[in-house]
Symmetry: D2
Subunit: 332 residues, 4 copies
């Protein structure tokens, strides 16, 4: 399968490196507007065609799949051009800048019988796979909450705020792990430097009293990547910065026994062993790209398709609206 890659900035080189290492794929062309990026690409891959003109990639008759690894505001035009020319597309997250664009691309792909995959890489990590398995097997019991903190110093974006930059990771993971869709969103935040929010908080109300929260921040002196997931039976902590033991499952919980009395505590705490499962040690991006090649070959619809990407965009849109109104509840 022949790939063309548009965008060779921070993430693009990882896409090219993985595609180059797969048995069933090769990269024929790389496009980037920046001369520096093109120079880096050409030096690393002398045999690949490198160009400043993205339309060479979207229109090349030899290319089967186009990977769009550019800023979000360019996704729609580039993916549309690729689809119109009969190419499958792999799009960096977030999928599009708004709902209308996303729906348009999904419809176009359907009409052309082409596949879209949105790069929700985290879904292919050993950690998320294991958490997904634990939740599917009922290890946590009924879900209570999902609470993620994703903060660090920079990398500042100039065209989007911190929610659109960092929260797509969490929203795509939630979308994958939690049954049902969020009903409403509340977002708060503040901009301090370039007019875009650099600190933001997002609460999502799901059905059946499930609540989710995302804390994202470009101005944190320390890097944090921690998610707490609380269920009726067990709770887990996923610290993605731990070298080993990223996921810890706690046999802890609370039962309410009765509701009377005043000075008496009504609550029974359960505190048992902790257990850290061994995780699959594969490169997530490699697995994701292999999966896309397989989906295209077999005709299977990827679970991280345009619709999954669109669901995340809708949450971001609602959050943006809430943020502008300083926390008003926005229904989805």
């Amino acid at each position: 399968m022949n790939f063309g890659v548009i965008g060779y900035g921070y993430w693009g080189p990882n896409i090219v490196r993985n595609l180059a290492s797969l048995e069933d794929s090769r990269v024929l062309a790389i496009a980037d507007a920046s001369p520096t990026a093109r120079k880096r690409a050409q030096k690393a891959y002398p045999e690949i065609h490198v160009t400043s003109d993205a339309s060479e990639v979207t229109s090349s008759p030899e290319i089967d799949v186009v990977a769009v690894i550019t800023p979000v505001w360019t996704h729609y035009e580039l993916a549309k051009a690729a689809l119109e020319n009969g190419k499958h597309v792999f799009v960096e997250k977030p999928f599009t800048s708004n709902t209308a664009q996303g729906e348009d691309l999904i419809n176009l792909a359907r009409r052309k019988n082409l596949k879209i995959m949105v790069d929700h890489t985290f879904l292919f990590t050993g950690a998320v796979k294991k958490i997904s398995q634990l939740m599917d097997e009922g290890t946590l019991g009924k879900l209570y909450y999902y609470d993620s903190t994703r903060v660090n110093l920079g990398l500042f974006q100039h065209d989007i705020n911190v929610l659109w930059d960092l929260a797509p990771h969490d929203l795509s993971i939630m979308d994958h792990l939690i049954n049902g869709s969020p009903e409403a969103v509340v977002a708060t935040g503040q901009n301090h430097l370039n007019g875009h929010e650099d600190v933001a908080y997002m609460t999502l109300y799901f059905p059946e009293k499930v609540i989710a929260h995302v804390n994202v921040n470009w101005l944190s002196p320390v890097k944090v990547r921690t998610t707490l997931i609380g269920g009726e039976k067990r709770m887990l902590v996923w610290n993605d910065l731990e070298a080993d033991e990223k996921v810890k499952v706690y046999d802890k919980g609370v039962d309410i026994r009765n509701r009377e009395g005043v000075y008496e505590l009504l609550v029974n705490y359960r505190s048992g062993d902790m257990w850290s499962p061994q995780l699959e040690q594969v490169e997530a991006l490699k697995q994701e790209l292999t999966y896309f090649v397989d989906c295209i070959s077999s005709g299977e619809e990827p679970f991280n398709n345009g619709c999954a990407g669109l669901r995340v965009v809708k949450m971001l849109e609602a959050a943006t609206e809430s943020l502008r109104q300083k926390g008003t509840l926005v229904y989805l």
Copy 2:
């Protein structure tokens, strides 16, 4: 100075122990409705009068100061009785159940020329003192945000939600550290067990783009007590669970240089040394009680007086209103 203590549950014994160890104070009476609590008190302090009748404490002619260490819904009546009988009062946080009660007590104390201190213990810790000093000296530069996480498994309260239980710590610290008062509050959360929210999030909008956030949770498998404070010049992390090195100051920051270009990052990151100052190693509660004894003797108004307590109650009231409306902005 002679103290009477009402409430000998979880926190009361610490109050009694510290008052008993101070040179200028002694405890004459302890009241608690629970026979078990009274038995514990009498065994530990055979020489102190222990009673089930709080009015014995509030009316005793030998008692100068009454410490009210009971659930919040009882604070108003007990403190009022004590003040009416001419006693200074030390009240557990949160000060009162609502604004009206707090204002009433403040006015009563003023008329009677008595002192109220609200037990904002954290203000007397080495960590908060050091952070306060650093902020006053301008070490952090202009403040950007204050972000606190205070989660653990239980202790569930049956009469209040997790915001009223855990957030008063953070709100009193913010009130102490941040210049100016919050203008508006947004709170979200969810109850899963006994009708009171056990997971809650609170955003406070301060003047000049300062934003604060509090994450409180009774259903966390791990205990977290971490606060990030970001300023223009430096940022700090306060992890209260670290045995040593609770406060770390990072010489890190971001400067925005210009606002043009598209692919070029507009941001300059600064990353220097980290520094963990030695903290004072005293018991905060002992310092606070000593300070109250001194204030009563000297006539000085404590900074954690009824007005400070009332400011925290107003934030909690506004948060409760926002929580009921699922995140509506509530002005203070």
Copy 3:
């Protein structure tokens, strides 16, 4: 059962507090040479007889058991006096200053039909109990090594070196956990300040290729209390400074498959889940003292008796000899 306690310095108050709280014991007298210590004791326990004369304790007809919580060079005389007067003795670790003293006390106790318990408190912690259970059940498989690091800043002793101060913890735990006795000892170290070694290392050779190592240091800027135990089937890490998750069991190991070839690795690594068992949450010292009271009542010989204390003293003696000769192998 009536206790007399000699020594009210750092550890003595914990002994008295626990004995005072037990149902079947009470403290009748406390002796200490220091006026400050006596003042503290009398203030905390107005009803207990406090004296500067240890012989009042060892000879009092009302006292059944004497606890000797003094520097090691005083243990022999005090314990001997107590035994001669028909009292059971509880002796702080290390048991005695040398083998001869320890044997003398053991023989004396046997003749008088009295019990000796040496205060190897760690054997009564939840962590050591759990590790002991795991090793007895074969969870770790055949033992390979035991490696402990116990370092911090001070507390400097002026009469003994860091081995005699800190290593007794590890040696008593090893003696309890490892089947068989060490055959030989190598110790190295250095003194920098007061003529006693403040940094020391000790290797113990056990039968069947089991090796143990202890790293003790009074000059470390950070406190470390970490023990690694490696077995054929599993390995564990015990970090006593962790609030929760003190013991972690790793399903990790190595198998040697064949011994040929040069460039090929001959080794197969196994890496599975990690598991942190819930530990008993009791005060170790309270359990130990309860156990001693029970042993005296029932006539049962405590496992941490004089012989256990003597085994630790012999290891310390051998280590001291090796240390003086800069690491010569000393057989036990």
Copy 4:
């Protein structure tokens, strides 16, 4: 400058990658006995000559420098052949299998006016550079001890024991940081699996009461890379596994005031701030190879030359002798 690289196993690819990226060097040939390694090399570098015959590399007239990245028992023959053919050599650590080989190579290089560099990579890390600077500036004061723990699960070697595999890192760092050479060595350890020690401990006595200790272990369930360095004025901890804050300097220490009294402590503890300096963020190996190219060009003798490599080999030889005699003191 034209390089030939012998050995393309675990570390060789890093050498080739760095040499390929430097401006003033290129790799002309790679030799490895393993067909798999050769296949990997050829795929990654189609333009480089890949061979099974190391003598092609050592004798090629176009090659100026030979990098020997093979097991230690092969170093002598390969380096000798390269030197005899007039090539400079870069040798993996440990330099040689014994002193005689090392001296032979040093003499040969001198006669031929060629340079030897031994790959003591750690000396070029930001951490060691900073520690070296701090010690040179007197920040720590007079050195008391150097204590390193370097343990993990595998990688088992079949031709050498764990001391020869892991300790060269620490020994080369010590050799660089500590003034003066060790006078004597004590080593203990045990083999459990393939006849080579997999757990070992090494004490080095330096002049002026400086003591060093190395704890190396192939059978640890957790990876540890921690070094404590204690001085009269300050102490530091270097944890190489920390992403940030690898080096922490503690303003802590001990003063001995007088030596009298029995119950009184004679020691004064000082406990001040902690400070974690920002470290240089460069790839150590790249810096080392650049430095070697510069040394060859300028004629400067590298500080990590054959003599530095030989000093480490002598310590390892002495340790091996001590290990065989179970801890006998071996003078250097």
